[in-house]
């Protein structure tokens, strides 16, 4: 073996790592810009300086209320939820080796959504208790889907189909509960049907952050076993990965993230589905897809929320915008992806 071939291998590796780092840095900057923009723009426009002062705890007449009480929790919720959706989506897509197998498609978010609607409409709850019901419900639905799928091992495609069935069932439950709600509010209903940041206030940010941050940390650390699992179970085990344990940890974290985010904002359409493939296009598929996908998810939600609030005469909930954006993106991805056939 010649030293030049080591150099060749090394050069290529460093180049790809650099590309990935550039993408991650770029997405972080974009996210920061979107964050500040979302704080400044609105009925009253504040200069970024004022907005940042409010974030840092200073009192600015007017801005303290609008930015501190209304916009900041909304933006934080959006960013956290988007981060969680992106991360969970990419985890599922990678784990099941199927671009279309994101948690919103395979019924995972519908469990949390149905439980949250049930808690609010039937039990009359709000705030943290809704969380405490929605998250276990999301996990329970994921478990049910898993058990229904289990037959001599879990097969990706069967999981997807069973998930679609469970999702359809739960969505009709959501529709029913919403139709029966005594005080039927469009805003509230839209939140649970397509996802919205319209009711994002400070009381929801705390629970969301306490759940999302540790779970995200675990998932990002477990990224190495995810990249091994990408090669198939047999290869992963041959490479010394504890396949069962790793997959359990990954799935639990991803389901937890999906449930937390869904319980706060409702199932924001397509974020979980789109973030992974978009991040993949940016990084060229090098290294773990998780962090780029999570950042893409957060950026996607903040962008869509800005569009939904200010681009039209009517204020659209964020989920309607991501859904409408999602349609052409879906077509583009399906038509362009050379290996869609392989992934299905």
């Amino acid at each position: 073996m010649s030293p030049s071939s080591v150099a060749l291998v090394r050069r290529g590796r460093l180049r790809r790592i650099r590309r990935r780092r550039t993408v991650v840095a770029g997405l972080t900057v974009l996210l920061a810009v979107l964050f500040v923009t979302s704080l400044c723009v609105g009925h009253t426009v504040y200069p970024p300086y004022d907005a940042l002062r409010v974030v840092l705890g200073d009192t600015v007449p007017g801005a303290s209320f609008t930015v501190g009480r209304l916009r900041l929790p909304r933006v934080l919720t959006g960013a956290l939820a988007g981060f969680a959706f992106g991360l969970a989506g990419a985890t599922f897509q990678t784990l099941l080796r199927n671009m279309l197998a994101s948690p919103d498609v395979i019924g995972i978010s519908s469990g949390a959504s149905a439980a949250a609607v049930f808690a609010i409409v039937v039990l009359g709850l709000g705030g943290t208790p809704v969380f405490l019901i929605a998250v276990p419900a999301g996990l329970a639905v994921a478990l049910v889907i898993y058990l229904l799928t289990y037959r001599q091992g879990v097969l990706g495609v069967r999981l997807v189909l069973v998930g679609i069935g469970v999702g359809a069932l739960l969505n009709s439950v959501v529709s029913y509960l919403l139709l029966r709600a005594p005080a039927w509010e469009v805003q509230e209903a839209m939140r649970w049907l397509t996802g919205s940041l319209g009711s994002a206030f400070w009381d929801g940010v705390g629970p969301l952050a306490t759940g999302v941050l540790p779970l995200s940390a675990v998932l990002l650390l477990a990224g190495r076993s995810l990249t091994a699992l990408q090669l198939g179970d047999d290869s992963a085990r041959a490479l010394g990965t504890r396949v069962g344990t790793s997959r359990l940890v990954l799935v639990l974290c991803a389901v937890g993230l999906t449930s937390l985010a869904t319980a706060t904002t409702g199932p924001i359409a397509f974020v979980a589905f789109l973030s992974g493939p978009v991040a993949h296009r940016l990084t060229g598929g090098n290294g773990s897809p998780l962090l780029p996908a999570a950042l893409t998810g957060a950026a996607l939600v903040l962008t869509a929320d800005l569009i939904g609030q200010f681009a039209f005469d009517t204020r659209f909930p964020v989920g309607v915008v991501t859904g409408a954006l999602g349609a052409p993106c879906l077509l583009w991805l399906l038509v362009r992806s050379r290996r869609t056939q392989g992934a299905l």
Binding site: L161, V162, A168, S175, P317, A324, A327
Partner: protein, 331 residues
């Protein structure tokens, strides 16, 4: 084997009759069989019982028609795509019809069912074509899992667009949200008459393609080898299914899972011959939707639960069971 369908035919007819009878008798106010018959034969006499029966007649008629249409359409779609999971709801057809109708109401000022039936059919056709074209790309063609996933995604996207069109027009939202779940509560004789021609055309086209679908079940190449004009059969069968779905959806809103559950049940009884599967699916579908409507009325008495919800509760488990049974290879 060949005698079995002959047994099931009268059984299905009987089932439809029972379902229809229950549908006019049961509800917020239960009417005895004698009173119900009297009301149907002699008309109203001012009593609440007879009024209730007369009121339930169009609703029953619509449920029967919609059920028959969806059952047949499901059977045709499953045959056409050689896909055991094909269903108008899963394949995005309902969402396509919904979007077209909403756009018609919002932008074209369309208000009568007679006008939006055509829009619904157009929307259903466009969505079906879209899902099929995307789903059949790549290796293996239109595999069940691809079609199901693409259908789900397209449904999600179209539903968002429906919301986007609706939200600025809150007045439309309230009428639409009930339509969106699927129900036959608002049926009227006029409304039924307006969709009837389309449904009739759909039934004729579908039933006429039964023999062709049998050949297609062997694969396009083999069907062509057997002298079947594959493209023509596909086109007429697809047109029939889209007409049926679109018209049914326009009349009663999107009702899922009937098209999935019914043909599977029928095939268990009769075997795979589409010349029996299609008509028996029509009968069984009619009975199922009518019974689902009755169930909805009884469960949520004195109000009612929309048919779409009841069929989803019954249908989703069947969908899951079918998905579990599929051989790995076929997926």
């Amino acid at each position: 084997m060949s005698t079995r369908p002959l047994v099931w035919l009268p059984a299905c007819v009987l089932l439809v009759a029972v379902a229809a009878a229950l549908s006019v008798m049961l509800g917020a106010r239960t009417v005895s069989p004698g009173d119900a018959l009297a009301a149907l034969v002699h008309g109203e006499d001012g009593s609440l019982a007879r009024a209730a029966v007369r009121q339930r007649v169009p609703r029953t008629g619509l449920a029967l028609l919609v059920g028959a249409a969806l059952g047949t359409a499901g059977a045709v779609m499953q045959g056409l795509t050689r896909n055991p999971l094909a269903d108008p709801g899963i394949l995005g057809v309902n969402a396509g019809a919904a979007l077209a109708v909403v756009c018609g109401i919002a932008y074209l000022g369309i208000s009568t069912p007679g006008q939006y039936v055509w829009l619904a059919v157009a929307g259903a056709g466009a969505a079906a074509a879209l899902v099929y074209v995307i789903g059949s790309r790549g290796r293996g063609g239109a595999t069940p899992v691809k079609l199901a996933l693409v259908g789900t995604m397209v449904t999600a996207a179209l539903s968002s667009l429906v919301s986007a069109v609706l939200l600025p027009r809150l007045d439309v939202v309230n009428t639409f949200r009930f339509w969106q779940i699927g129900g036959v509560g608002g049926a009227s004789a006029d409304g039924i008459l307006q969709v009837l021609p389309l449904l009739a055309a759909g039934f004729v086209l579908s039933l006429a393609s039964a023999r062709g679908l049998n050949a297609l079940a062997l694969g396009d190449d083999l069907a062509a080898g057997l002298g079947e004009r594959v493209a023509r059969t596909r086109l007429s069968a697809a047109a029939g299914a889209v007409l049926l779905c679109g018209a049914a959806t326009a009349a009663a809103g999107p009702i899922g899972f009937v098209g999935l559950v019914v043909p599977h049940t029928v095939r268990l009884l009769t075997g795979p011959d589409n010349r029996w599967v299609l008509p028996l699916s029509a009968l069984t579908g009619a009975a199922l939707v009518t019974l689902a409507d009755v169930t909805g009325r009884l469960v949520a008495r004195p109000g009612d639960m929309e048919v779409g919800i009841v069929t989803a509760v019954i249908g989703a488990p069947v969908f899951i069971a079918v998905a579990r049974q599929q051989k790995v290879r076929e997926l």
